[in-house]
Symmetry: C2
Subunit: 330 residues, 2 copies
């Protein structure tokens, strides 16, 4: 099927770009130096490609992602890089056939993990404005975990506030300050893992020993502003022009089909005016007709993927496969 | 089950509020003076309540919504208030057991409807910055439709640009200007339907003969700013506190679980700082502990509902039912 025959709105990935991004990252951070984050794509078929190229450990944001990866046979070493006190979900993860490590940052999260039979954790250190304990709390929490028969594999700290900063020097400063805290905590906690980072900091965060990047596979407009990124845009939102006015055209992919927290999508053919529930209005450089196709670049990949049931896989404008986005919801 | 036992994030509706909002609207706009828009809730179980109270016609934004309503036996009179040239989907709607009317605004949309065997349409008039033909094009399009054996039931015009305006007088002016265009087109086109409006204009749009309101059932923070609204907030996003810092707390309902195009959610217990993929950070007025529950009010109901598989139905803090949000996707 040609891409222009897809019912719209439809999400599609350029397989050449996707494979090239995966290969480039595996060259930069081979094997377990990368722990790919599945929250960016929520797709086990895509995670399988990351596994095949040598990354056997994965990062997850939700219990659902952990359980789905385990079911898909990709559970060699899954890190839930997020806190939960949901004993039922923790128990399901503990009972899965996967090696599961969870992030903990408080007595309550350790107690819940203990109750559920979780065997391994990392101490999550607050290095920004997210989850995590203070550096000076880390040692006591590690002791509490060990006393609860949970092995402490090391520390985690996600410098999310640095991730999208366009200026490289500013980004580097933010990472350095954050990672100084993480390394101080690691001195107190021990363990083999110092885990953190993401696509935006993968090349400059030299303090951690594994990077949790996810967006690099498909990219979005936010990351494309960083000129130091070697990865190419691979994710597109296909739409159909359904109405043409004198000065603008209306396309059938609106805000229900893409993440809006980073703003409007972009489009090579003209200006994006605004998105409503089911429509995106554009000012085209060349006249459009009803029925024409427009491919948008979503501003934020993670919530965009989470809104779709499937990702269409495209090579040379032909749809050659369709992958379930099977790690959605909670 | 008590609401605090729900796995989070979870969407829930207060059934007392929901029933009261439905009853209030049915008092104001009984029977076919309201054509409830299902895009706001995408839930046939909820549409069934609107049907039972006397609204037999419904408005849909997508072919999927039309087909789902037909399957649910709610297809007495379904209006696809949106343009499509997808002949396959139009054919499925034409072949359904429902009475289906589609909006058209161009030769291309009429040709697609004709090819698919659609029997009825309304001429969509541009009264703002959305789909619709110009007023002076309406008569010729109606003639084209009739010549294609498609019955023209009247005109449609959605004054979306007025809908969220907080100031009542300004909103009224915008509606009046928009509806002058719609009425002029109706003079040329004829037919029994003059359809448009929404929750924000339901009380002031006296030009149309049916109102396409949807949000009134559950409401959101955007509509709650309009002081002339009689409807109460009925939709909440339940979250669990998973991490507590000195100055803020982190809750496990982030931007993947709510629409962000109208900004952050609100919370009666304090200030909402920001949302990330899986978290919302708050500054609570009273100290929170890990495991505490926080109910957010989403800023925009439509995309929030579209992100969840189910809506939990709550009365007196007890979860008494769970409805599938079964009209999602495309």
């Amino acid at each position: 099927m040609h891409i222009d025959e897809l019912p719209t709105p439809a999400l599609w990935a350029d397989l050449d770009v996707l494979e090239s991004n995966i290969a480039e990252m595996a060259r930069r951070l081979p094997g377990n130096r990368l722990r790919p984050h599945v929250k960016a794509h929520k797709t086990t078929a895509l995670a399988a490609l990351q596994y095949e190229i040598g990354h056997q450990g994965f990062t997850c944001a939700t219990p659902r992602e952990v359980l789905g990866m385990a079911e898909a046979g990709l559970g060699d070493d899954l890190l839930l890089a997020n806190e939960t006190v949901d004993v039922q979900r923790l128990s399901a993860m503990a009972a899965s056939n996967a090696r599961v490590t969870v992030a903990v940052d408080s007595q309550a999260t350790i107690d819940a993990a203990t109750k559920a039979g979780i065997k391994e954790c990392v101490i999550d250190i607050r290095v920004g404005f997210r989850c995590g304990c203070e550096v000076e709390e880390a040692e006591a929490l590690a002791e509490l975990a060990r006393n609860s028969k949970i092995s402490v594999r090391g520390v985690m700290g996600y410098e999310g506030h640095a991730m999208g900063v366009v200026d490289l020097e500013r980004r580097r400063e933010l990472v350095e300050t954050a990672m100084a805290r993480l390394c101080e905590a690691h001195d107190a906690v021990g363990g083999e893992l110092i885990t953190g980072g993401g696509t935006g900091t993968h090349a400059i965060n030299t303090w951690v020993n594994e990077i949790q990047a996810g967006s690099y596979v498909l990219m979005d407009t936010a990351y494309n502003e960083q000129t130091d990124q070697p990865f190419r845009q691979g994710l597109f939102l296909q739409s159909t022009v359904v109405s043409v006015a004198e000065k603008f055209a209306v396309c059938d992919a609106g805000l229900k089909s893409q993440g809006m927290d980073h703003g409007n999508p972009s489009w090579v053919g003209g200006e994006v005016l605004f998105c409503s529930d089911e429509h995106t209005n554009v000012i085209p450089e060349k006249p459009l007709e009803v029925g024409d196709r427009v491919s948008f670049v979503p501003a934020h990949i993670d919530p965009t993927m989470a809104k779709h049931q499937s990702l269409h896989i495209v090579r040379n404008e032909q749809v050659i496969d369709r992958w379930d986005i099977d790690l959605r919801h909670w």
